[in-house]
């Protein structure tokens, strides 16, 4: 028992929570935006992989870290545009298109990576983001290092939560986005074209996904390798349901999830006799449990997965 308390009391674990949560926060916000405007984006897993790769590659070939982040955002937006093009004006199956985007974006990422770094036995590394101590605040005992000694993209992710929450609930554009996900016909009747709004919002959401991926290579680790996303994208899709499509709860979900992950990582090292695979399974099982709890309670955007065509009901 005391082992558990040791883990829970350690600054290191709590510090890890925000770090583990950051890509999930970005990815979840991305999925949330897409779904709020009425489109499921299962491209996230591949978009994160591509963001991780292109962000890393940009820095590796001489760009600075923020240029890497920007490249990941642009790359994400580009794949988002492709997804939007196929699912919004053409109205193709959002499930299948999203999977296609994931397969395409991830294999394309690996292809470009192998092309740029053909013969490296161990993945080459870059200098990642360093923790940024907020003056004064980071000196607070315990809370200081946990909250105020993170890397810059983590602070950015937290800022995005506030920004998106404000945007969705306090601005005319946000209302239009929500309306597009609830009843695009109503939006069209008010003279706003749901098609373009959906395309734009999906691109913005996908840019966030790309940045979530880039966080892995530019901050959490310092290199890129295939299969590094490990289902994080799918977990984000589950977290959005858990969050009931609200940005604040998305943050909460990502943090809870990361807390659990950080805890089990430390538990692995101190508990003997339990195979490590069981610990690794936990995030996926946990996501499924979260889905079960929330599936019927959440208020799903009414037009989610319904393509909009003028004059068709």
């Amino acid at each position: 028992m005391s082992v558990l308390f040791d883990i829970l009391g350690s600054v290191g674990m709590w510090e890890a929570v925000l770090r583990i949560a950051t890509p999930l926060i970005l990815g979840t916000l991305g999925v949330l935006l897409c779904e709020r405007v009425g489109v499921l984006n299962l491209g996230i897993e591949g978009i994160m992989a591509f963001g991780a790769m292109i962000g890393w590659l940009t820095v590796y070939s001489g760009g600075d870290l923020w240029t890497g982040m920007l490249a990941a955002a642009l790359g994400g937006a580009a794949f988002g545009f492709l997804h939007a093009l196929l699912t919004v004006p053409l109205g193709l199956s959002q499930h299948v298109t999203g999977l296609g985007i994931t397969l395409f974006a991830s294999s394309f990422a690996y292809y470009v990576f192998r092309l740029s770094v053909p013969t490296a036995s161990s993945p080459p590394t870059i200098d990642p983001f360093q923790p940024l101590s907020v003056p004064v605040l980071s000196d607070i005992p315990f809370l200081g290092p946990v909250l105020f000694n993170q890397t810059a993209p983590t602070y950015l992710a937290l800022a995005f939560v506030v920004l998106i929450a404000w945007g969705l609930y306090r601005t005319p554009l946000g209302l239009a986005v929500r309306m597009a996900g609830e009843n695009p016909h109503a939006l069209d009747a008010q003279g706003i074209d749901p098609i373009w709004l959906r395309i734009g919002t999906i691109m913005a959401g996908s840019a966030l996904m790309g940045m979530g991926g880039a966080f892995l290579t530019l901050s959490a680790f310092n290199s890129f390798f295939p299969t590094m996303i490990q289902g994080r994208g799918w977990i984000c899709v589950a977290l959005v349901v858990f969050a009931s499509w609200r940005p604040g709860r998305a943050l909460l979900g990502a943090l809870l999830f990361a807390l659990f992950d950080a805890f089990q990582l430390r538990l692995q090292t101190v508990v003997d006799g339990v195979p490590y695979q069981l610990f690794l399974m936990m995030p996926y099982v946990l996501s499924i449990v979260a889905l079960i709890i929330m599936a019927r309670r959440a208020r799903v955007p009414q037009a989610l997965m319904q393509p909009y065509r003028r004059g068709e009901r």
């Binding site: 299948v96 397969l103 292809y111 289902g231 399974m281 079960i292 599936a295």
Partner: protein
């Protein structure tokens, strides 16, 4: 600009769609190859030569085709009924590990080969079914979208396999490599061409495609599954038992993916590792779409996919193009196929 549904989509267009899609994917991939500094035509010639140019090439391609037919069928039957089974990868692995587990029972090794093989096939199929029935149950009971759950279960299944082959089922003679105890010899499938890896699993896979086609086209179950997929409300009004029909579809779909894993173990490797499948499950989704969900078309689409993968291996060595180009092409062909089907069904108007 607007899209108008064609009132009578022509058969020719529908049949041409996959060809157009593959052509489109090859063109885009060709650009990527050219950017990498190689001649795309030479690359494709090398791919064809590496697959159809020799007895070994042909047998390797057909060996690759076998599991792809089965995972492609698994996706096709599920998608027909709008059951989004993206868990083919996990079902494949669970089918494989089930065979390996069965093989550890001494009684199996003592059985006549046909019975042992039949039992192994059943075990693999059942394992795949179980893994799909869980997310289907969650959908029917709690309304949980099966797309995400089947995706997540892929990771769980792979970790489970890893757990087994590093633990209870670990082969003590494998010099510490994580792999399962080999299955007994009497469960190994016969070789079709001597001194190649091509095995009788191909015949099973093709036979399954024909059976699935027949069931889908002619049986009451097939008609109901299609109705449930196209319009669940109208199907229910017409007395289609939605839950039971979907359970049937899930058993068929999960069973086929599980069977793919079982046959891969019995036909190719003889034991299970965590790299048994180079994304066979995910490729199955592409194959199903390329085949327009037609079970017989799955055979052709699986062959195309296998050609890309096998051919890209030898091509990449010759031209130093990353072999990921095969994955890129296959993924692209899914997207181009979606567009091609759309264009076959709609016309563009101003």
């Amino acid at each position: 600009m607007r899209f108008e549904r064609r009132e009578h989509p022509s058969r020719a267009l529908t049949l041409l769609a996959p060809l157009g899609a593959i052509l489109g994917a090859l063109v885009v991939a060709g650009v990527l190859i050219a950017i990498a500094g190689a001649n795309p035509f030479r690359a494709y010639a090398l791919i064809l030569n590496g697959t159809f140019g020799s007895r070994l090439g042909i047998s390797e391609t057909l060996t690759r085709t076998t599991p792809l037919i089965l995972t492609g069928l698994a996706a096709a039957v599920a998608f027909r009924a709008r059951l989004w089974n993206i868990g083919g990868e996990g079902q494949f692995y669970l089918g494989a590990i089930a065979v390996a587990a069965l093989g550890m029972i001494p009684a199996i090794a003592a059985m006549p080969a046909p019975i042992a093989i039949a039992l192994c096939c059943i075990a693999g199929a059942v394992a795949g079914m179980v893994l799909l029935l869980v997310p289907l149950g969650l959908r029917l009971r709690f309304g949980v979208d099966e797309v995400v759950t089947t995706l997540l279960l892929n990771f769980v299944a792979l970790l489970f396999v890893s757990l087994m082959i590093e633990g209870a089922m670990k082969d003590p003679l494998a010099f510490g490599w994580p792999q399962s105890v080999p299955v007994p010899d009497n469960t190994l499938l016969a070789t079709l061409i001597p001194r190649t890896r091509l095995h009788a699993g191909l015949l099973i896979a093709v036979a399954m495609a024909v059976v699935v086609w027949f069931v889908q086209a002619r049986s009451v179950f097939g008609m109901r599954a299609r109705a449930a997929g196209l319009n669940p409300r109208a199907a229910a009004f017409s007395g289609v038992p939605l839950g039971r029909t979907l359970i049937g579809v899930a058993c068929l779909s999960g069973g086929l993916a599980g069977l793919a894993g079982a046959i891969e173990v019995m036909g190719v490797k003889g034991y299970v590792t965590t790299d048994l499948s180079p994304n066979y499950g995910y490729s199955g989704i592409v194959i199903a779409m390329l085949a327009n969900l037609n079970p017989l078309g799955v055979i052709v689409a699986a062959l195309f996919t296998a050609v890309m993968f096998v051919g890209a291996d030898s091509m990449s060595r010759a031209l130093s193009i990353p072999s990921y180009i095969a994955d890129v092409t296959v993924a692209l062909s899914l997207l181009t196929m979606l567009v091609a089907i759309f264009l076959a069904q709609y016309r563009i108007r101003r």
